[in-house]
């Protein structure tokens, strides 16, 4: 039987995402409430909802992560950097941005590196996460992105946005973890404690899901 201490630590490695385009102001508040109630490690929202989430979570020690360049990453470097600065000005503590996956797939690694440098510059003093779309990339491309992220001083590489392939693959976490000295965040539809553990065991430092309540629910069951 798992001990409560371990499962409590688990909740502090889970970020709750509310990134549905249809999310209302109320949904944003509900996500923040869930993050507070379960002691999760962050709330992830689109920049348009950033101020609302920041206001709600003020004083809670739960950082708000702004999702920049979501979900395609197919924006200009200057545009994404400006979006990150804007989100920080609105109170975001951390930035998760989507890498220009099209450029990575085109073999244009110089552009991906330039983008990482620009994002690092735009977010000095804040946690920066670079999001890939693992299901669209070869292992070689994933590894290359990790090395670039490590060189640029990015804090986390994220497996995927959750908008292309919803389930995070354990194998992707392994590939990213082996590639370089950068923390891995496994993102997507994580519905059970079992899947959460598998991803963590494969080397993920954190998880991002819109289903934290389910993981937390199982935790409550086990704690009982």
């Amino acid at each position: 039987m798992p001990d409560a201490g371990m499962t409590n630590r688990l909740s502090r490695r889970i970020e709750l995402a509310e990134l549905r385009p249809s999310a209302t102001y109320r949904d944003i508040h509900l996500a923040c409430l869930q993050a507070e109630r379960h002691g999760l490690c962050a709330a992830v929202v689109h920049p348009v909802h950033c101020e609302r989430a920041v206001t709600h979570l003020r004083g809670s020690n739960i950082p708000v992560v702004a999702a920049v360049g979501f979900p395609t990453g197919a924006f200009t470097i200057e545009g994404k950097a400006a979006e990150a600065r804007d989100a920080i000005a609105r109170g975001a503590s951390e930035i998760e941005y989507v890498v220009n996956v099209g450029a990575l797939r085109s073999g244009n690694r110089a552009l991906v590196a330039r983008e990482m440098d620009a994002m690092r510059d735009a977010t000095r003093g804040h946690v920066l996460k670079a999001t890939l779309e693992s299901s669209l990339l070869t292992d070689e491309e994933k590894s290359a992105a990790c090395r670039l992220a490590s060189d640029a001083g990015v804090d986390f590489v994220v497996t995927s946005t959750g908008f292309v392939e919803t389930r995070p693959a354990v194998e992707d976490v392994r590939v990213l973890k082996e590639a370089a000295g950068v923390c891995v965040l496994a993102a997507g539809d994580i519905r059970t404690l079992e899947v959460a553990r598998e991803l963590l065991n494969a080397g993920a430092s954190r998880l991002r899901t819109s289903n934290a309540i389910l993981v937390a629910g199982e935790r409550a069951e086990e704690d009982a």
Binding site: S22, A23, P47, V48, F75, T76, E83, G102, R105, S106
Partner: protein, 218 residues
């Protein structure tokens, strides 16, 4: 309607996370052989597409806050300014859908007003209300807000939606010819395209233009 006439009513393009530079080059090279009305790309390929579309009659369409609309107004305006600098002819801008779903039409109004202001008549503002996730009354209220703020063109859905003739009829019945309506979302066959045009759509937006042209007589 013949093949040539239908082609002129099609706006095509290549959008999405997976798109490579080679994909853009190949797709535009093929599209150049057809009299499509417009060609849409994500902002990361806007300058490349501008260059490749040179000498054609296709308008260049820039996708703004595409496809989720979750970017701040500030970011959307920056993207429109960038589209203006690249000399794109149209923008497809996704609205603040969270505001619509929250009934906050004041925020939608503010966003529209600012976008129209920045576009300043130099670029056509085509708005994506993402009909798929809106209720009947949200569709009407959103269109009414658009009209109030001087936006006269809509593209029904961004990525993921499925355009239905009922939606086109709804807008036509409520607002007559006030809007140019671009039917968009899951249009992959000639039959679908013709049904949407019959319902009153002005343009067909599809990334699978050649499939849509497959079953029409030359």
């Amino acid at each position: 309607m013949n093949r040539d006439e239908l082609t002129r009513l099609i706006k095509t393009g290549i959008l999405g996370t997976d798109v490579t530079e080679g994909d853009v080059r190949n797709d535009i090279a093929t599209a150049r052989g057809y009299p499509f009305s417009a060609y849409a790309v994500d902002l990361s390929y806007l300058e490349l597409a501008k260059e490749l579309l040179e000498g054609t009659h296709m308008l260049l369409t820039a996708a703004v806050s595409y496809p989720l609309g979750g970017m701040t107004l500030e970011t959307k305006l920056n993207q429109i300014r960038y589209a203006l600098r690249v000399r794109a002819e149209e923008i497809n801008a996704t609205l603040n859908l969270g505001a619509i779903k929250s009934g906050d039409y004041a925020a939608v109004r503010e966003e529209l007003r600012a976008m129209v202001d920045v576009a300043d008549g130099a670029i056509d503002v085509i708005v994506i209300p993402q009909f798929e996730i809106l209720t009947h009354s949200e569709k009407l209220q959103t269109c009414k807000t658009l009209l109030d703020e001087g936006v006269r063109a809509i593209k029904t859905d961004g990525h993921g939606g499925l355009c239905r003739p009922e939606d086109i009829l709804l807008v036509r019945r409520a607002f007559g010819r006030e809007f140019s309506i671009e039917a968009s979302g899951g249009i992959r066959t000639t039959r679908q395209a013709l049904d949407l045009l019959d319902a009153g759509a002005d343009f067909i937006h599809t990334s699978t233009a050649y499939a849509v042209l497959a079953d029409i007589e030359v």
